[in-house]
């Protein structure tokens, strides 16, 4: 049972951290709970399908199907997070002007909420399919039903609890800085996901490494440790990254920050760009 609890906990934690950041980023949006639950439900259904079709997926792309699916899912999530943060920056000015209550301000965020629902679904799908295969493996090995159910309950409970802890921690950020802070978290999350996608493509020999293991900080914080895994999700920490992972990380950061900057410029400046000499009030 401890083995089951530990593995389930690790996978649930990864998904839970992503869900809690998304929840914080959509604070105050109407019907948010429904969207989040819908995303988790879709993700679970997808995870079952992926696990059932694991044999088929494994055979695709001359044996690289698993890596390509993982990379595709991760990059799709990156694109959706990117779209959301750029969209939010574009409307930040108008939101700030009409801001009388938070609820009203972020109501406008609901049109990019569907994207974040998809991010949740993809996160749950990726981690969930692994859990399903693991539980199947355990069941084959003749573990008792009690051990299996106890392990699942402990693992899911622990992972969800830490997700909630992060969420309530984020809520303590003062309102003035709140959406700035959650946007930064989303951008770092996206960069980390892009770096992981690069690692899967490297594993399938679809990308050049540009230097395997550029450095190694395992002695300080290993990828396998709880803190290492948590930082891996939150900011894309990797104890011994390949060069191509850094490229993906940096490109994602630059694209999202550049996109947010560009979108945040006032409409007049946007129209008359690049004549930047116009004095602004």
């Amino acid at each position: 049972m401890p083995g089951v609890a530990l593995l389930v906990f690790r996978e649930v934690l990864e998904a839970a951290l992503i869900v809690s950041i998304v929840c914080a980023a959509t604070r105050g949006v109407r019907l948010r709970g429904l969207y989040v639950l819908g995303g988790i439900g879709l993700g679970l259904a997808g995870a079952l399908l992926v696990a059932l079709g694991a044999g088929f997926i494994a055979g695709l792309a001359s044996g690289s199907g698993q890596e390509l699916l993982n990379a595709g899912v991760l990059l799709a999530a990156v694109a959706m997070i990117g779209w959301h943060v750029v969209w939010m920056s574009r409307h930040a000015r108008e939101l700030a002007q009409h801001m009388s209550a938070v609820g009203q301000a972020v109501k406008a965020g609901s049109s990019s909420l569907t994207l974040l629902l998809a991010v949740i679904a993809l996160a749950v799908l990726r981690e969930g399919s692994e859990v399903v295969l693991f539980l199947y493996s355990m069941a084959m090995g003749g573990i008792s039903a009690g051990g299996l159910i106890g392990g699942i309950a402990l693992g899911v409970g622990g992972g969800v609890a830490l997700g909630f802890a992060l969420y309530f921690g984020l809520l303590r950020i003062p309102l003035k800085h709140f959406f700035g802070a959650t946007n930064v978290m989303l951008v770092l999350l996206a960069a980390g996901l892009a770096s992981t996608a690069a690692r899967f493509l490297l594993q399938a020999n679809r990308l050049p490494a540009l230097g395997e293991q550029l450095w190694n900080t395992s002695w300080l914080l290993s990828n396998g440790s709880l803190a290492g895994k948590t930082l891996g999700i939150l900011i894309g920490y990797d104890a011994s990254p390949a060069g191509i992972q850094l490229v993906f990380y940096a490109v994602t950061l630059l694209l999202l920050i550049g996109g947010m900057r560009l979108a945040a410029r006032p409409a007049a400046a946007r129209r008359e760009a690049p004549a930047a000499a116009i004095p602004q009030s």
Partner: protein, 108 residues
């Protein structure tokens, strides 16, 4: 235009040639343990690991030290590209049976 096409073909060909040049090493999973438990591979070059799961249950080949993870379904085989790695000893394990499925990649 023709020259460009020729260059593209040559480039593709060189990639294809390189892919077949990668040395191959074999691992098996049986009774939730790796065989051999220690695998020697050369340093400074990319290698192809071919991992066969002979058990009736799925396993996940994983290493946090050389950063790889891939599910191996029952009675099936996967390939994972690793490296180039510096000389040393790198731990890998079976994520679904960590108490028995432990191994090391000896890079020298």
């Amino acid at each position: 235009m023709n020259r460009l096409a020729l260059a593209a073909v040559l480039l593709l060909w060189s990639f294809a040639a390189r892919a077949t040049d990668v040395p191959e090493f074999h691992l098996a999973i049986q009774d939730h343990a790796y065989q051999p438990a220690e695998l020697k591979v050369p340093a400074g070059t990319k290698v192809k690991l071919v991992i066969e799961n002979r058990d009736a249950s799925p396993e996940e080949f994983e290493s946090t030290e050389f950063n790889r993870e891939k599910i191996v379904l029952p009675n099936s085989t996967i390939t994972v590209y690793v490296g180039p790695l510096k000389p040393g000893s790198y731990r890998f394990f079976g994520d679904f049976h960590q108490d028995t499925a432990q191994g090391r990649l000896i890079v020298e």
